[in-house]
Symmetry: C2
Subunit: 243 residues, 2 copies
DNA sequence: CAGTGGTCTAGACCACTGT
DNA sequence: CAGTGGTCTAGACCACTGG
């Protein structure tokens, strides 16, 4: 029964009878309309939320989930030519798209690396960790941590909260680590409770987990950036040569 | 209360007191242990399932979700050098990884393209659609549809269920469409009910939606491949040049 | 068969929202 | 304040699993 109710609502949403942001019938309405108990109705609404089709707001109602504008990450976003500006890439790009960018909870620390990070960076004893959260129009969309071998980053502008124009990649190149290429690994999964909090994720929204490793021209890994993104806010775009 | 129960179980899982595939305490056990009603316990277990930490099996119990082996898709997987074999790339690679590959529900049809596909392919009136499902060790992991402009694919080996060694990309190149590059777009979201069925997805498992467009050396889009993957079965890997 | 999870009921009280 | 969703109870019957 609760599946039938969910199907009915899903179809109504698909057919446009309810649009993004519209309020669905209240639980009481559905109880009356379908002649079932409230738990059954709640079960149906819960299904739609798990599918990412609806969000509930306490005291207000259940709404068709609005599709936020997505941020497109192009595969050339770290190309050197995009780096000679005074502002961070995120800021430039967000303003170009007409959004209000913010960077938040910036934290720079020396740490002992996790096993995974350590392996990717060639087993340094300690690393510099740069954490920050990105927001668009007040909405958190991404939480990222950069790790650099401490022997490379200590007492450099990279250890400062604001590393200066062009970001840490520009600083690395100034320090003689000409960047050669980046490896990116992409996974998708449901968020942990902590991630739900920091990214203010609605239920039914997965995260994209991206781990990028930057290599210098000698093949040494110089940075690993671990990024968790709200999946409904991003499209990742890559261009691959046919050979 | 149900959050506390979920927290307790989550912590026990994180700390390894329950391992992958282990059975969690039954609902009755939890009711007795925490002194709450069954709905409260079910609420807690449902949370863990939404997080992708647990799966329930009717009549058996609730189990810590096993992490299946992931398939790594490298960004050079369509490089020409990987194409001169007799078998499909999926098959070769799966066997190398020690898995048993299968391809399933193969279907080749002429269709009118959706608006999105049409735009990507330069607005052909009709397209050839090649649908197929991929399985590893009996488990569905990916459902893919390739679309090609019909004027390009009609009456060619591409319109056959088995297009021959090297797949449709090899055939396209034989037909004079030398491939130049691919664009890939990646999104993650929760699956539709239909996708849950065809990929046999557990709750709490998102899908990765990948749309790849192949361009020939004249810049013409010659194929769009729309792929939906079980997110717990894949890591996508890309290599980006620093310039 | 006993034990498990799946569904549903009927009712209660609470917390949040907007008027 | 009325209307909304959030949580919880106590109980019932069902469907599936395994011995």
């Amino acid at each position: 029964m609760f599946r039938q109710i969910a199907d009915a609502l899903r179809e109504a949403i698909d057919k446009g009878r309810y649009r993004e942001g519209d309020k669905l019938p209240s639980e009481t309405d559905l109880v009356d309309h379908f002649g079932v108990s409230r738990m059954t109705v709640r079960n149906a609404l819960s299904l739609l939320q798990q599918e990412g089709l609806a969000v509930s707001e306490h005291g207000k109602g259940v709404f068709v989930r609005p599709r936020p504008p997505v941020r497109r990450l192009a595969s050339d976003r770290f190309a050197r030519r995009h780096r000679d500006q005074g502002k961070a890439a995120f800021t430039v790009e967000a303003e170009a798209a007409g959004s209000r960018p913010e960077v938040d909870s910036l934290e720079v620390k020396e740490e002992r690396p996790s096993q995974d990070i350590s392996a990717r960076l060639g087993s340094p004893r300690k690393v510099l960790a740069r954490r920050r959260r990105y927001l668009l129009d007040g909405r958190p969309v991404e939480f990222a941590t950069s790790y650099l071998p401490l022997d490379l980053a200590r007492n450099t502008p990279i250890a400062q909260p604001n590393p200066g124009p062009g970001g840490i990649y520009a600083r690395l190149e100034e320090m003689g680590h000409r960047l050669d290429h980046f490896d990116e690994e992409i996974r998708a999964r449901m968020p942990s409770p902590a991630e739900v909090r920091t990214l203010q994720l609605a239920s039914g929204v997965p995260v994209i987990h991206l781990v990028r490793t930057a290599y210098d021209s000698e093949g040494r890994p110089v940075e690993v950036c671990d990024t968790v993104m709200a999946a409904d806010a991003y499209v990742l775009a890559y261009q691959l040569p046919a050979n």
